[in-house]
């Protein structure tokens, strides 16, 4: 599934994953959004995360189910973002950071030796808290950036198709189709975040990780992103870190609550379950106290 580190950059860039198996990047894909397809399952097994000697996350076991939105909630410093970043091997980009345990995408270990982290990040995309379009690039080039990087040379017509499909999928096409050559930074905050989502989906990932994707957006843009997330889950497996508990309640199917006993201790997964259950009848008192806003 994942490109090997032994392969050359150009060679690995030509292979991506599709539901039907590996396809060459030059094969065309339909412009219209497909109906629900089965995305892949992401599974964490006894995951422990460290920054140098400091253990940030301890013993996390959880399944991020396909075609569902899993919200990760918990107070600041509980390790939820660290955990999210470990899922596509971004945690290791921090100097001194390390990972113990397994993270498997449909049974294949993301951290197995020989697995190329770049290939992992192509299959498990990330959308960040602050919309971060490439500042010097046009709207079109922002979406196509991953294609250029990952897939080597592809035909202009095919690139056009992928850009349109991705922008449509991100509910942005109608707003930008007449100004694709304008800078990505010329868009509003909410549009920029949708542009970033289009950029993430352009490379046909299996999983989308979102780290507080709406925290920099106004309420209307936030609801637009939440609607988009509900659409995207038909295609992808989605995990979203959010501080907004109402967002977790509105936008997710499953909710995972992280907590730490006290400052300096590692964060742990306290409870994961259907969102409805977490917000109506959680099994753990700590979860109840957190979702009820009794401590923050």
């Amino acid at each position: 599934m994942f490109g090997s580190q032994a392969k050359s950059e150009a060679e690995e860039g030509r292979t991506t994953m599709s539901p039907a198996g590996p396809v060459t990047a030059t094969s065309s894909q339909p412009v219209a959004a497909a109906s629900t397809r089965r995305a892949k399952t992401l599974e964490a097994k006894e995951v422990n995360l460290f920054y140098g000697d400091f253990q940030a996350v301890e013993g996390v076991n959880m399944t991020i189910e396909p075609n569902k939105v899993t919200a990760l909630i918990g107070s600041s410093g509980c390790g939820k973002t660290t955990f999210l970043r470990s899922l596509n091997r971004m945690h290791e980009l921090t100097p001194g950071a390390s990972v113990k345990g397994d993270i498997e995408l449909d049974g294949e270990d993301v951290y197995a030796s020989g697995v190329d982290p770049v290939a992992v990040r192509r299959l498990i995309g990330m959308v960040f808290q602050q919309p971060n379009p490439f500042p010097t690039m046009s709207i079109y080039d922002n979406v196509a950036a991953g294609l250029n990087f990952n897939a080597g040379r592809i035909a202009k017509s095919e690139k056009d198709e992928i850009v349109e499909r991705s922008l449509r999928g991100a509910h942005l096409w109608d707003e930008v189709k007449d100004r694709l050559d304008r800078p990505g930074m010329s868009l509003s905050g909410g549009q920029q975040q949708r542009l970033c989502i289009a950029r993430a989906t352009a490379v046909s990932p299996e999983v989308l990780l979102m780290d507080e994707p709406c925290s920099a957006l106004d309420p209307v843009a936030t609801l637009a992103i939440e609607d988009l997330i509900a659409e995207l889950k038909k295609e992808y497996t989605i995990a979203i870190v959010t501080h907004n508990m109402q967002q977790a309640a509105r936008a997710s199917d499953n909710t995972a609550f992280f907590n730490l006993e006290e400052s300096g201790k590692p964060g742990r997964l306290i409870e994961i379950g259907p969102t409805e259950q977490i917000f109506t009848k959680p099994t753990q008192k700590a979860t109840e106290d957190y979702v009820s806003g009794r401590f923050g």
Binding site: M245, Q246, A249, F279, T280, K281, P282, T287, E288, V291, S292, G293, R294, F295, G296
Partner: protein, 229 residues
């Protein structure tokens, strides 16, 4: 960690006390209603009817405050279940107040003659005493989140139901005299209203179980008695 949202928690506690305080109002209304029935006291019956505005006022006031909490505080988990349950309980309280009004409105129809059947009046007064006891038991079960006490309401309500059936038998046997028959019909309406108060108490018990367990189940399903929880 420090406790936060203290004001909201305090308000929720106050609203619960205020809602359940409605049961005290109902209990007092039942006491007066029984007295009016026993003594055929039309003036007292009119006071009960007028006083029902207090119960309705409590219902409207607490209901509005709970809706405001829902809109502004986004309660979840136990708090959400509590608010949902209190909205139900308020409705039950309002209905029980209305049953007292229903009884008191027919008190003038019993006339000034001595009761046609003393035994039937006794049965109805006994039903009323049981109903008052159920009201207070429902209140305590809610306050203490005591599911066992809440479930016990079903058996205690069965006693009222049995007394209601006995009233019906007495009414059937009251004879052919038109005045007596009219009196008996009036008393059956009274018995029926008290029987409904018992049912409302059982409904409150079901809400206690919902607050505690997160599952809403009818303790008894009148249309499918064998399928009840």
């Amino acid at each position: 960690m420090p406790e936060i949202r203290v004001g909201y928690q305090e308000e929720l506690r106050t609203l619960e006390a205020s809602a359940l305080g409605g049961l005290d109002l109902v209990s007092a209304a039942v006491t007066r209603t029984l007295e009016a029935v026993e003594h055929q006291d039309i003036e007292l019956a009119q006071i009960v009817v007028a006083d029902d505005d207090r119960i309705d006022g409590r219902y409207l006031e607490v209901h509005q405050a709970l809706i405001t909490l829902l809109a502004t505080q986004s309660p979840v988990a136990t708090d959400l279940r509590l608010i949902s349950a209190l909205l139900h309980v308020l409705k039950n309280i309002e209905r029980m107040g209305d049953q007292c009004v229903n009884i008191c409105k027919v008190v003038p129809m019993t006339g000034h003659e001595p009761p046609a059947d003393e035994e039937m009046v006794k049965l109805i007064l006994t039903m009323g005493v049981h109903a008052k006891s159920l009201i207070m038991q429902a209140k305590h079960a809610f306050e203490e989140r005591n599911v066992e006490m809440a479930r016990d309401l079903v058996e205690r309500d069965d006693v009222i139901d049995e007394l209601n059936r006995e009233c019906f038998q007495l009414a059937l046997a009251i004879g052919d005299d038109a005045d007596k028959r009219e009196w008996a019909m009036t008393m059956l309406l009274t018995a029926r209203a008290i029987e409904r108060i018992g049912d409302n108490c059982v409904d409150i018990g079901e809400q206690v179980a919902f607050v505690v367990t997160g599952l809403f189940r009818e303790f008894e399903d009148a249309s499918h008695p064998s399928a009840s929880a």
